[in-house]
């Protein structure tokens, strides 16, 4: 069970108090009615599923109720930052190495065992 820092409550609380909200920093187009099918697919369906650093939304649903963003490593589950909704993506290049943006498949991980 994760320990998550709520930037509004300014303390770490148990994962039980939170709900995950998917990828962060995906802004809903202001002209959404006019975008192409491809743009809509990009906005609504397609996600990177990175192995490594991910920026994601959380809601402190059983606490202050606020949505906020966090940077987490999907391999180690280590949180590198959590910050209020609307704030820019923090620069984590100093603390976190580049991330593979590939979707991991069984074949890729099993190597010679194919």
């Amino acid at each position: 069970m994760l320990l998550i820092y709520c930037p509004y409550c300014e303390e770490e609380r148990s994962e039980l108090e939170f709900r995950h909200g998917g990828d962060a920093h995906i802004a809903r187009p202001t002209n959404i009615a006019d975008i192409t099918d491809e743009e809509f697919a990009e906005f609504f369906f397609l996600r990177d599923n990175p192995k490594g650093l991910i920026f994601e939304r959380w809601r402190h649903i059983h606490g202050c109720g606020r949505f906020f963003n966090a940077a987490r490593d999907t391999v180690s589950d280590k949180f590198y930052a959590s910050y209020k909704a609307g704030e820019p993506k923090p620069d984590l290049s100093a603390v976190h190495p580049a991330t593979e943006k590939t979707v991991e498949t069984y074949e890729a991980t099993e190597g010679t065992a194919k």
Binding site: M1, L2, L3, S14, E15, R19, G21, A27, R28, I32, A33, I35, D37, F40, F44, R57, R59, I61, G65, R66, F67, S76, D77, A85, G86, E110, T112, A113
Partner: protein, 997 residues
């Protein structure tokens, strides 16, 4: 003496304190503090079970949680019975009933033992290959037979009468394991003032000190020192010492699951005490002092009762005072086993020989053995054993051939070396690293704030362990901001440094042999099975594991994994780390379901939500149905009425007179603020800015992909205030959906959302006499049809309490929904009911509500829609604004698949046989005579008998349904095919005269 093999003066139990228990019906005497294993051995019982696949006689192998063989069934009474308990950890209590498992008809004569003779046919992968054909036989023949034959114990059939507790805890430093390393670490950490939890799975602390009598710490015998250290720790305010407590799982962010066995060792437990307690510990730092597990030697017929681990024999002797044999041989590749011979010899047991597969054993142990007059055979191996229910002799050869001799024994102790217990470290997602020099996998890269100390870290030597543990304890405590106290110093001495160790098959069980050299006792996996798996193409250790089932039994391969890996590596011609280690998974040892669910059973499994009128409904004979967590009145049967009769009566009465219905469970959200209308414009397909205060509108909410998410009536109370209702099940997610958009996409809007679901009690009064029922009770609202038409809302009073009175209908009748503060709900309900009853109205439940709404063509989101339905599919195009330039779902609705022809659309169905009610979920086809598989056009979403229509009615999602009106379609059922006609969805009062009356 309790048991013939108990040696006077040996062990730490008190001879006077006895307990009686039965094993397979026979009564035995034990001492308090005995495990079932030690008590059975004391009484000369080695045969305790039959193996999983071959049904071979098996005995006790270990003295700890790693035990693969001695699984027993332990009972207090019929309900308090647990199968698959390891006899080596279960403490004896007076009156316990122990039964052996996996044998029929008896342990000593077992029919399944025939499998042993058939074993050439039971090689690895046997099940996968043999029981493939015929396919139909799997379910009916093979699986039941295999399950019965190869079963572990049987689960009790009665409900578990015990209760289980749950506790959350936090600490600065959690120390797992209370051997020398764990105690040292805890002492150092505690001295700083840090909050420390120390847990150990055994009844008493000490770990390896249970058996290792040659250790002294601070000048005291190790075990004595350990008890004093634990007592000192327990007396400190900042320390919690938990015995009989296993850390079974290491999860994210230093969250560790512990299970404390509270009463399983007590003869007459206090029934108020829980049987077990789950501790959910969040530690700032964790110190793992989990020790190491001794491996057995892998050689032909190494599984006979009487063959056990050398350290286990030392535990039985030094702690329990039990000699595991009268004439004992030792077979080892490692120095530590020699000390078993020394201890037994000193206790008067005859040592037949020490057979050491190494040509050069450690000098110190070799000299000591000679001084005891024990014969040592270096460079020799045990290649076979004899004896049916207990080992009677061993066959020894010189490595490389020759010197073959048979030695009569009644016990054989083996040791291939020590496997560090890196289970929890690995569960913490730390990466292990292989140490080629010692042949051990050790903690490598740490993923969490923890440290491993002592044997689990590959640290050899007592003083080195103590110093490593003290340093870790202090370091970890200081890291949490505790810097008080004095430095702890300890001095330990032990008799011998241990060297040696091997993994894999020993001499005589190599690739050129066909002997049964077991590596996994519990799953009956032999060295040759691993080789077969490799020959058949399994090259990954994960595949080899699954093909052979090595390490997949309840002991999770604590003894076998490294052996299996070494044999696989040898067969593949690769180094051990190149073949890879299987992943360690929680739990470390089996955990009962009771512990995991603890309080969450029965009434406490899930909270029941009850409306303010629940008590009245109960008192008036309502039956209830579960809707999410809500208990909703389902129908109100009168004496002698069936459900159908009650629902028919309720349906008739509502349309003829009136009915009163508890609608309190509807989700309610108060949307307030200067931008409230603009916000709702974005959240719903409809336009809200045009809605005048005092009016209501039915709204459709979509997801961004264009599919219907929820619906409900929204009333505008004032310019800046809306009363939103949602479906009963949808309330929390709609609130979350709204908050999400408000906080993250539309934060510029000045709107405040409040969930008011439980603040309002809602009483629906529906039917021709609805107005007459409420009229005398309402104050300050003109409820005439002209002043208060359909889809209006007013604030005023009813029965003297504030109300938001809605004129709205989910029945098609003129009606009202009376919202009052929840605390007044029952009082207002009773006042309304008094009027209603006098006028001949009824109370009705959700079943009648469903029928009435269906008669009128009203959908239920989640029943008639399934997350792939657009408002157009549902026939609700009128509710989608064409003027708005934005709302959630506006773009999704234009997606190619959502606008193309032939989508499934919601229609009405009438059966050609009017009496026949369709089954919800039934599939619909155009041609009932087409060959199977048939082309399915859709399915029935709702179906009822309509008493008011005099025929059955149904809704269905049908491909191109809106253009099929009048068509005949078919619903194939197991017993017949039902012809149906596609209709519109309104079955009653199509022009809406009743609604507006």
């Amino acid at each position: 003496m309790s048991g013939a093999n108990r040696i006077a003066g040996q062990g730490r139990l008190t001879p006077a304190r006895t307990a009686r228990f039965t094993f397979d019906g026979k009564s035995y005497e034990a001492l308090e503090g005995d495990t079932v294993a030690s008590a059975l051995l004391a009484n000369g019982v080695h045969l305790v079970g039959r193996s999983f696949k071959y049904h071979r006689p098996r005995g006790i192998v270990s003295a700890g949680p790693e035990e693969p063989n001695a699984l027993i069934d332990v009972a207090r009474d019929a309900a308090r019975r647990q199968p698959n308990v390891r006899a080596t950890v279960q403490e004896v209590f007076d009156g316990m009933k122990v039964t052996s498992q996996n044998r029929w008809p008896s342990l000593t004569f077992d029919v399944g033992g025939l499998n042993n003779l058939m074993s050439p046919f039971f090689a690895a992968g046997f099940y996968y290959k043999t029981f493939m054909w015929p396919k139909a036989a799997w379910e009916k023949v093979y699986e039941p037979v295999i399950r019965r034959a190869a079963g572990l114990g049987t689960a009790p059939t009665e409900e578990d009468p015990d209760h289980y507790a749950n506790r959350y805890a936090t600490c600065d430093v959690l120390v797992v394991g209370a051997g020398v390393a764990g105690l040292s670490a805890a002492l150092a950490a505690a001295a700083t003032g840090a909050r420390v939890i120390l847990c150990d799975e055994q009844p008493e602390v000490g770990g390896a000190l249970h058996y290792d009598r040659s250790v002294t710490v601070d000048g005291k015998e190790g075990f004595v020192w350990a008890q004093e250290a634990a007592a000192k720790l327990a007396a400190m305010e900042n320390v919690t010492v938990l015995s009989r407590t296993t850390a079974f799982g290491y999860y994210n962010h230093n969250f560790v699951g512990l299970v404390e066995r509270v009463t399983d060792h007590v003869a007459r437990p206090d029934r108020k005490a829980p049987r077990e307690r789950l501790w959910q510990v969040r530690a700032k730092r964790v110190i793992l002092a989990t020790g190491a597990i001794e491996r057995h030697m892998v050689f032909g017929n190494n599984d006979r009762p009487g063959i056990m681990l050398a350290s286990a024999a030392r535990t039985y002797l030094n702690h329990f005072g039990v000699a595991v044999g009268k004439k004992v041989a030792i077979y080892t590749a490692n120095d530590s086993a020699y000390e078993a011979a020394f201890d037994l010899k000193r206790a008067g047991v005859q040592i037949a020989a020490i057979i050491d597969s190494r040509s050069k054993p450690g000098d110190a142990v070799l000299n000591e053995a000679r001084s005891h007059g024990i014969e040592v055979l270096p460079g020799h191996s045990v290649v076979d054993t004899k004896g049916h229910r207990r080992v009677s002799s061993i066959t020894v050869v010189r490595n490389g051939g020759g010197g073959k001799r048979s030695i009569a024994v009644d016990a054989l102790l083996t040791s291939a070396g020590w496997t560090p217990s890196v289970h929890l470290f690995s569960q913490s997602r730390g990466k292990v690293a292989y140490n080629a020099e010692t042949g051990q996998f050790l903690p490598g890269t740490y993923a969490q704030d923890c440290l491993s100390v002592g044997a689990c870290n590959g640290t050899n030597g007592l003083q080195a362990t103590i110093e490593e543990a003290l340093a870790a304890g202090e370091l970890m405590a200081r890291a949490t901001g505790n810097d008080g106290g004095e430095k702890v110093e300890l001095r330990g001495e032990n008799a011998f440094e241990w060297t040696g160790g091997m993994a894999g098959a020993a001499e005589g069980a190599g690739a050129d042999t066909n002997v049964k050299a077991f590596i996994d006792f519990q799953n009956d996996v032999c060295a040759k099975d691993i080789r077969l798996a490799v020959r058949e193409g399994m090259h990954s250790i994960e595949h080899i594991k699954r093909f052979t089932t090595n390490g997949m039994a309840t002991d999770q391969g604590k003894l076998s994994n490294l052996h299996g890996l070494a044999i696989a590596a040898e067969t593949l011609g690769r180094e051990i780390p190149k073949v890879g280690l299987t992943t360690f998974r929680a739990p470390y040892t089996p955990v009962t379901f009771g512990t995991i669910i603890n309080h969450s059973r029965g009434d406490l499994f899930d909270p029941a939500r009850k409306t303010p009128m629940h008590a009245w409904e109960e008192a008036h004979g309502a039956l209830f149905e579960d809707v999410g967590n809500w208990k909703r009145a389902w129908y109100y049967p009168r004496a002698g009425e069936t459900m159908q009769e009650a629902v028919d009566r309720e349906c008739r009465t509502v349309r003829a007179v009136a009915g009163v219905f508890d609608a309190s469970t509807l989700g309610k959200i108060e949307v307030v603020g200067p931008d409230a209308a603009e916000f709702l414009n974005l959240m719903y397909t409809n336009a809200w800015d045009t809605l005048k205060p005092g009016r209501c509108r039915y709204g459709i909410m979509l997801r961004e992909d264009g599919f219907v998410y929820d619906d409900g009536v929204v009333g505008r109370i004032a310019e800046d205030r809306f009363h939103v209702t949602t479906t009963t099940g949808g309330a929390p997610r709609v609130m979350n959906h709204m908050e999400d958009y408000l906080q993250t996409e539309f934060p510029h809007l000045k709107v405040w959302l409040t969930s008011t679901t439980e603040q309002w009690a809602v009483i629906a009064v529906q039917g021709p006499k609805a107005r007459e029922i409420i009229a005398p009770l309402v104050e300050g609202i003109d409820i005439s049809n002209e002043a208060f038409p359909h889809m209006s809302v007013r604030e005023g009073k009813i029965c003297g309490v504030p109300t938001r009175l809605f004129r709205m209908s989910f029945t098609g009748e003129a009606g009202y929904e009376v919202n009052v503060p929840a605390d007044y709900g029952q009082a207002v309900w009773e006042a309304i009911w008094a009027r209603a009853e006098t006028l001949g109205a009824c109370a009705y439940g959700t079943e009648t509500m469903h029928v009435l709404r269906a008669e009128k063509g009203y959908i239920i989101v989640g029943q008639d829609t399934d997350g792939t339905v657009t408002p157009f599919d549902a026939g609700l195009a009128w509710a989608v604004s064409k003027k708005k330039t934005d709302f959630v779902g506006i773009r999704g609705l234009k997606r190619p698949d959502l606008v193309k022809e032939g989508r499934k659309q919601l229609v009405g169905l009438r059966t050609k046989d009017p009496k026949l009610v369709l089954e919800e979920g039934a599939q619909i086809v155009a041609d009932p005579n087409q060959p199977m598989p048939m082309k399915m056009l859709g399915h029935v979403t709702s179906a009822y008998w309509s008493e008011n229509c005099g025929h059955s009615i149904a809704f269905a999602l049908v491909e191109g349904g809106h253009s099929r009106t009048g068509q005949t379609l078919y619903v194939p059922m197991p017993d017949r095919t039902v012809a149906v006609e596609v209709t519109d969805m309104v079955f009653i009062d199509k022009e809406g005269a009743r609604l507006n009356g």
